[in-house]
Subunit: 296 residues, 2 copies
């Protein structure tokens, strides 16, 4: 069964398309957890402890986590070890793991990235990897091949959530399409052999909640494209803006929230893991109010 | 002094625009070096030993190395530690270090990647990082800011060397330009405050040797843009195809060669490090025959 079907099964069972973003910045940790950690190994150890408690706090109510690799890579090998432990722990607790690396390279080298995260000898348990398709098909095919072999998935950047994403992605091509729509067409093509029982492919797209017009256009144009939707919460996206990312069954994407979950305790008080859990419950309710029940 | 000036000074002093690509795949190592290495830590240790000997063999005749992060990331934290040791060793031997990661993300997160490779607390000695500009200006500015603060440089993907790069990068926009030219314009803009005494910016572009027409167009259109040129050798690019990447002074880029250097011993015999050195000497002569002498 394609990984996308397993993820959607879980979303429907939990009635929750939330993805908790483990973009864990050291400053997000409570002061007492940060005290005395000076070198990268000590910092990485504290971050893992924080992640572990967040995962324990949310794993029975959310289906997936997205781990932002940049936050770990900045601590070198110690940080990467923390990323690996976080992914493995999340997987062990039943969560789907999305590694947010936006990796990209040519041919063979793309294959090494695919092997690193999605291959049989991958050093940790990743289900989906984010990728960047600027290099075209032969830069993405090695990832797709590994997905086919190992039942993994991808999310390729199509329309990103940052303010200046339109500068490049909304350029108009001579055939009247935009750059992001063209990229959407490539993603649809890359994923066409990985479409599962819900009609969605294991090769999906990153589509920001902050650009609802573009999201609606992509949803209409590419019905097999499952979205990883960043930008909810701190970046300004709200549930109403998300409505058009989803189909009539309440399916079509996972909605990521990082800071709003990890730092909920700073606004609401209590322990960080209890506040994170409550933030996920609030987010579930918020999303349900516009998306409606999720059904097979 | 901008890092690009220091690099060009070295190129002129050595009369060599070669960059040795440490895309070190385990299979590139001689059989006796590979024997008995099973786990990632052992493999990473052997790869470092190989890299160290290559660096010792070429450091007095080439100005720079490009380390392909994918080749290290596939071995997890152990691989990243090997990447860090390789970068530090190359720097210690006087080489300019280009980390080929094609990193990209939005705002803050791009800042973490910048910190990881180019910041004050970076875990190893990197001079230049390759980046991917699909996300637009606010995805690249954090890298540029760190370059300004710490005297580092970037190479952004513009026209890549892979066969299908044209599928996306050569699309025509409504104003008649191609996508890669538009990206070239963004790169020129991102780098305009980092132009040094030679007229080149520390924010350069990846331009493949395999697409000489596009390279010539970019050279003419963007005179401040220094090129990182992959595709020489194994990928089919030759010195004649490179001619038009360079200006009248014989300046304008560094030419990467990975497999042709690391695996020279498989064709020519001898030790891998002696064969690598000879391959660099041959490549210098080959490049000089079309680019001519490099002058201030």
């Amino acid at each position: 069964m394609p990984i996308i079907d397993k993820l959607i099964d879980r979303i429907v069972a939990m009635q929750n398309p939330t993805c908790v973003g483990l973009d864990t910045i050291f400053d997000y940790l409570p002061e007492d957890m940060r005290a005395g950690a000076e070198d990268n190994a000590a910092i990485a150890e504290r971050i893992f402890e924080f992640n572990k408690n967040i995962i324990d706090g949310v794993c029975d109510i959310v289906p997936s986590v997205k781990i932002q690799i940049a936050c770990y890579e900045m601590y070198g090998a110690a940080g990467i070890a923390c990323f690996e432990r976080t992914a493995d722990y999340a997987k062990q607790k039943g969560l789907f793991v999305i590694a947010d690396g936006k990796r990209n390279d040519i041919g063979n080298t793309a294959g090494f990235y695919a092997a690193a995260f999605l291959g049989e000898r991958a050093t940790c348990a990743v289900d989906f990897l984010t990728v960047n398709g600027y290099l075209g098909t032969d830069g993405i095919q090695p990832f797709v091949d590994v997905c086919k072999q190992n039942d993994k998935g991808l999310f390729a950047l199509v329309k990103t959530s940052n303010p200046s994403s339109g500068e490049f992605q909304n350029l108009l091509l001579q055939d009247g399409r935009t750059v992001y729509e063209y990229m959407g067409g490539l993603v649809e093509k890359w994923g066409k052999e990985l479409v599962g029982k819900y009609g969605y492919s294991s090769v999906g797209a990153v589509v920001g909640a902050t650009h609802p017009e573009e999201a609606a256009r992509l949803r209409a144009e590419f019905p097999h494209m499952f979205f990883l939707i960043p930008g909810y919460g701190a970046q300004g996206g709200n549930a109403e803006m998300l409505r058009r990312c989803f189909d009539g069954r309440g399916l079509g994407g996972v909605v990521n929230n990082s800071r709003g979950v990890l730092c909920a305790y700073k606004k609401k008080g209590g322990t960080y893991f209890a506040a994170a859990r409550q933030a996920c419950i609030d987010m579930q309710r918020d999303l349900a109010s516009v998306i409606g029940p999720m059904s097979r």
